[in-house]
């Protein structure tokens, strides 16, 4: 894959960034003498699937939810953590490049790794896949929705950076009649795509189409949303709204057809060219609409034509 695509930049960054820069530094740990039974509340409250076991400054093991469940099955909840933990712990060092961590996650299938300082051997942090994604996006100065990363496809995005598959998803809310912020989604997406290093020509096509779709939401609907999915070989942008819908799609697509009200036309909208601009600048456009329900517009842009 060449340098003109976003994923090339993500991969470069995974070599530049160090584990220590993206890890979580507040680590919840347990002592070897803690009761295994006490882990239940700790795991639940912190939504963790495992935690490092530390004696003084030294990492002596790791105990996971599976260890806990086995203990539970054996009816030995009073047993000390020391007896049930895994002593041979796979760790990462704070000075390793993130790409090492990515490979390690890939090979081991673990949810998180303790991070040690190479000189002192002390535990200095913990690293999850989510930390890596957040770190990479932050470095690219991409605004992301934290929720999306956690709930939507955290592991997915991650595998995908590796495997050259899917997808970074960006989401923008668009308010109807808000001419002050009109065009903001298109501008933000354009900025993000340049930061990711996409080819200017692709960026220009996406910018035109996204702008037109966004303006239609502003002009014709109370509110809507733009969703951009960035894949290694194509970008898909969806513009969805729950507005009045389009009664005759074929007619709406005719260049020059517009139902824009007079006051909007005075601002320079309403040439009836938006949808045909989208058709021209995208590689594929699918427009679906139901009167009284809303409109769903999908635009696809291939990176290599």
């Amino acid at each position: 894959m060449g340098k003109d695509d976003g994923f090339g930049r993500v991969q470069e960054l995974s070599y530049e960034l160090k584990v220590g820069e993206v890890m979580t530094t507040t680590v919840i740990t347990v002592a070897p003498d803690n009761r295994v039974g006490d882990l239940r509340e700790l795991f639940r409250a912190n939504k963790m699937s495992g935690t490092p076991v530390v004696a003084g400054d030294r990492l002596v093991g790791i105990i996971s939810i599976e260890d806990f469940i086995k203990c539970l099955a054996d009816g030995e909840m009073d047993c000390p953590v020391r007896m049930r933990m895994t002593e041979k712990v796979e760790v990462l060092y704070a000075d390793e490049p993130v790409v090492h961590a990515i490979h390690k996650f890939d090979r081991r299938g673990f949810g998180r790794f303790p991070v040690l300082d190479r000189k002192t051997g002390h535990l200095v942090g913990i690293l999850s896949k989510g930390d890596i994604i957040k770190g990479l996006l932050k470095k690219l100065e991409i605004d992301y929705h934290e929720e999306e990363i956690h709930h939507y496809r955290a592991s997915h995005i991650f595998e995908d950076i590796l495997a050259d598959k899917t997808a970074i998803r960006l989401k923008y809310d668009v308010r109807g009649k808000d001419f002050e912020n009109a065009g903001a989604s298109a501008s933000a997406l354009k900025k993000t795509l340049s930061r990711l290093g996409f080819h200017p020509q692709v960026i220009r096509r996406v910018a035109i189409a996204t702008y037109e779709a966004e303006m239609n939401i502003v002009v014709f609907t109370p509110k809507g949303q733009m969703l951009a999915d960035i894949h290694p070989d194509h970008i898909e942008v969806k513009a969805v709204d729950k507005g009045p819908g389009i009664p005759d799609i074929e007619r709406a697509l005719v260049p020059g057809f517009s139902t824009a009200p007079e006051w909007v036309r005075e601002l320079g909208f309403g040439a009836g060219m938006g949808l045909s601009n989208i058709q021209k600048s995208s590689d594929k456009m699918v427009l679906k609409s139901k009167v009284g329900k809303g409109t769903d517009l999908r635009m696809t842009f291939f990176l290599y034509r």
Binding site: F179, E180, A182, G183, A184, A186, S187, K190, R204, A207, I208, Y211, E212, M215, L267, G268, F269, G270, A271, G272, M273, G274, S276, N277, K280
Partner: protein, 114 residues
């Protein structure tokens, strides 16, 4: 030709982003319809229009235009100027109507996309 030379030659007033006048201009487009500009203007073009509201800035930014010329002595709205200043889009004003200013740009050697 650089934007500052054009400003000087055509005696226009600069209303925003005076810091960005060193930019090379490659051509021009004249229209008052935003979708028309989205479709037909190109990067580094000057856009001639009578529109004065803030949405012209979004179009200029997205299309990477060199600047916007507002005709007929119309003045851009304050929100337009604030946004243009922030985004670094030069807005120039002229007393001349579109037909005249485009004619002079043509004389200076500028063309649109034919």
């Amino acid at each position: 030709m650089k934007l500052e030379e054009i400003v000087h030659e055509l005696k226009m007033d600069v209303r925003s982003a005076g810091r960005n006048l060193a930019r090379e201009v490659r051509g021009g487009y004249a229209s008052d319809l935003l979708s028309d500009v989205m479709a037909n203007a190109e990067k580094d073009y000057l856009w001639v229009t009578l529109q004065i509201h803030q949405n012209i800035v979004a179009v200029a930014v997205l299309k990477e235009l060199a600047g916007v010329i507002i005709v007929n002595g119309r003045e851009p709205e304050p929100e337009t100027l604030a946004k243009a200043e922030k985004e670094g889009v030069p807005i120039l004003v002229t007393q001349l109507p579109t037909f005249e200013i485009v004619g002079r740009l043509h004389q200076l050697g500028f063309r649109g996309t034919a």
